[in-house]
C-alpha cells in the first residue's frame, strides 16, 4: 500500500485542550503530521483544524476513525476534490535584486508586504507543491528567513 499525502479537515468544539487531544492521539498511535493549522470558525463555538499527513489508505481510515472517536470532534473530512493553499513569508537582504524578488513573489500569487532599511519581506500563497517551488527559486536571493504557514483546504 502506497503512502499518500492526504489533507484532513477536523471540525472540533472550541474548548480547552482540544488540540492537545488531537496531536497526542497522532503521537500515541504513531501517525505523522506534516503540517497543522487551526483557527476558530466565524460565528460559532467550533474550530477548524487542517492536518496534512501521509499514510496508506488503511492508516488514513484509522486516523479518520480515531479522530471521530475523540469526544469534542464534530466532523472529519478526508479531502478528495479540494482547493489547497499554503502561505509563506520570506525575508531577503535589501541588497538583493528587489525587482526579481517582487516578480518571483507575484508569480506565486503573492507580492511584497514590507520593505525596511535592511530587509524586504514578501509573501506567497499557493498550492503546497508550488510553495515548495517558490522556496527553491527564492534560494538564489539568499533569503534570511522563510516561514511556511501550513496547509488549509476546502472541498470543491
Amino acid at each position: 500500500m502506497a503512502n499518500e499525502k492526504r489533507v484532513i479537515s477536523v471540525i472540533v468544539m472550541n474548548e480547552s485542550s482540544v488540540l492537545a487531544r488531537i496531536t497526542s492521539m497522532f503521537a500515541a498511535r504513531g501517525y505523522n503530521i506534516e503540517s497543522l493549522t487551526v483557527a476558530p470558525i466565524p460565528d460559532s463555538d467550533m474550530s477548524h483544524i487542517t492536518i496534512a499527513t501521509n499514510g496508506s489508505s488503511k492508516v488514513m481510515e484509522q486516523i479518520t476513525k480515531q479522530l471521530h472517536k475523540l469526544i469534542p470532534v464534530y466532523k472529519v473530512i478526508e479531502h478528495e476534490e479540494m482547493v489547497e493553499k499554503e502561505m509563506v513569508l520570506a525575508k531577503f537582504p535589501i541588497a538583493e535584486n528587489l525587482a526579481d524578488i517582487s516578480v518571483l513573489a507575484s508569480a506565486y500569487n503573492g507580492g511584497v508586504v514590507n520593505v525596511g532599511k535592511e530587509m524586504i519581506i514578501v509573501m506567497a500563497a499557493d498550492e503546497p507543491k508550488r510553495i515548495k517551488h517558490f522556496i527553491e527559486a527564492a534560494q538564489r536571493y539568499n533569503p534570511c528567513e522563510i516561514i511556511r504557514g501550513g496547509v488549509v483546504a476546502i472541498e470543491r
Binding site: S16, S17, S24, P72
Partner: protein, 575 residues
Amino acid sequence: MQMSGAQMVCEAIIAEGVKTVFGYPGGAIMHVYDEIYKQDGFEHILNRHEQAAVHAADGYARATGEVGVAMVTSGPGFTNAVTGLATAYMDSIPMVVISGQVPLSLIGTDGFQEIDAVGISRPCTKHNFLVRSIEELPRILKEAFYLARTGRPGPVLVDIPKDITVETGEFKYPESVNIPSYKPTYKGNKKQIVKAVEAIKNAKKPLLYVGGGAVLSDAYKLIREMAEKTKIPVVETLMARGVMGHDHPQLLGMLGMHGNYASNMAMSETDLIISLGARFDDRVTGKLSEFAKYADIIHVDIDPANIAKLVDVQYPIVGDVKQVLEEMLPLLESVDPDRYQAWREILKRYDELHPQSYIDSDEVIKPQWAIERLGELVGEDAIITSDVGQHQMWAAQHYPFDRPRQWINSGGLGTMGFGFPAAIGAKKAHPEKTVINITGDGSILMNMQELVTAAEYDIPVINVILNNHFLGMVRQWQTFFYEKRYSETDLTFQPNWKALAEACGGIGYDVTTKEEFDAALKDAIKQNKVCFMNVSVNRFENVLPMVPAGGALFNMMLPSPELADSALEDKKGTK
C-alpha cells in the same frame, strides 16, 4: 439550589444511583470528603492505595454493569490512580474517577501536589475534564457519567480544582445530555445485516467469535439463541468467558495464545468469522498474516475504529451487539443448521484429538486441579476475579463459568494487582455471592494492603494464591524461549502468608494437599472473613496449549508430559 462544589459532587453521585464509592482523601479533595462525612446517600470505602480504589470501582462496575466511582486527591493520589484508569480503559469499563486538583490560581505553577492530570490521563481515559468554573460543574458531572456508560463504555476523569469545591453556585442536575459531537451508533445498518445473514447462509464453516463487548452489551441470551438456532460453533475470548456457559455443547472454548486446540483450529479453518464485540487482539490472532486465512469476516462492534483496524472486514456492522442481534435473529430463521454438520464434526474430532487437559498428580497439587475443584465446590454461586499470569490463564481455561460478569479480570492491560481490589468491588456489589480472587504469589503482593481494607469493612474476599514460588508466566517464557535463564523470577523468598493475613485482620491457610484445600475453602466460606489461601502448587507447571508470541494460531505447543512440567524435562536431561 445553592451549594458548594463539594456538595454538588456528592449530589451528582447520589443522583446517579451510586451506592458505593471507593477512594482515598488528601489535601486537594478534602472539601469533598467533608461533604461525604455529612451525607448518607452512599457509602465510602477507604482502600489503602489509590490504585486499589480505582480497581475496586472497576470490579464493582464489571460485576454490575453500572458506573463505578472512585475518588482521589491531586498529585500522587492521581498518578497512583493512572494504572486503574488504564486497566478500565483497555477493557472498556464504565467508570468515573474524581480527582482533586490544586486551586485554579496555582495551576501551572508546579504547586504542591500539582500534576497535569488531564494531560497524563488523556491516552487512558475515554474522556476527561478539568473543571474551570463552578457554573460548569453540574453539566460536567452529568456528562462524565453519560460518557462513561454510553457507546463503547470507558473511564472518565473529572479533575476539580480545590477552590471550585469550596465555591458555591446554583445546582440543578441536568436531566439530559447534549454533546453534538458525540452520537454513538447503536442500531446496525439494516442492509449490512441482511448481507451478513446471506453470508451466513452461504458459509460452510461459520464460526461465532464472541468478545468482551458481548458482556458489556448484555447480549448473552441473544448470542446463545443465535447459536442454538443456527447450530454454529462458538469460541470465546478471555473477556467473554461465561457468555455461552461452560457446558453448552456448541462452545468450543477459549481461543488465542492459551486457547484450546479445537478453538484455535476452528479459527484457522473457518470460512466465515462472525465477530460479536471482539477486537482481534494480538493475543487472539497470533501471526496476523496466517490468521483465519480462508475466512470472510462479519464484524459487529460499537466502536467503528475497531473495525478493519487489524484485519480486513467484508461485512462491517457498527452497532451495539444486542441491538444488532435483535435485528438479525428473525432473519436467521431460514438458515439450515444441517448445512454446518460436517464442520461441527471436524471440530468435534479436533476436540477429541486434543481436549483441554492436564496431567493430575497425587503427590502435589496441580494448579488446574485447584481451579476445577473450586468450580466443583462453589461453581455458579461464585464470582471469580483474577490477577495476571499463569493462574489467570488456568482460571480462564478450567473454571466452569456459567454466566457473563462471573469472570472479572484485566484482559487488555494485564494488570497484576487487579484481582484483590476488584474482588472487593465485586463483593460490595454482590454481598450474597462468594467472591474468590484466583491469584499468584507474584500478583497478590502488588495490592496486599487491601487485606486491611477488606478486614476493616468486613468484605470477606477469598484469595486463592496458586503459589509456585515463581513469577510463573515469565518463568514459563524463560523456560521455553530464554534457555531457562530464570532472571529475577524466582520468588523463593516469601512472606509467611498465614501470619501476614492474620496481622491485617484476616485469616490464613497453608494448603499442601487436596484434603487441606477442601477443608480450607469450606472453612473460609464458613468464617466469612477475608483470607489468604496459600496453595502450594507444582512449581514448574506450564500453561498449555501455547501459541508462541508472533506465531501462527494453528502452531500450538500441546500438552505433553515434558512440556507441561519443565521440572520433568530437567530430570530426564540429567539421567
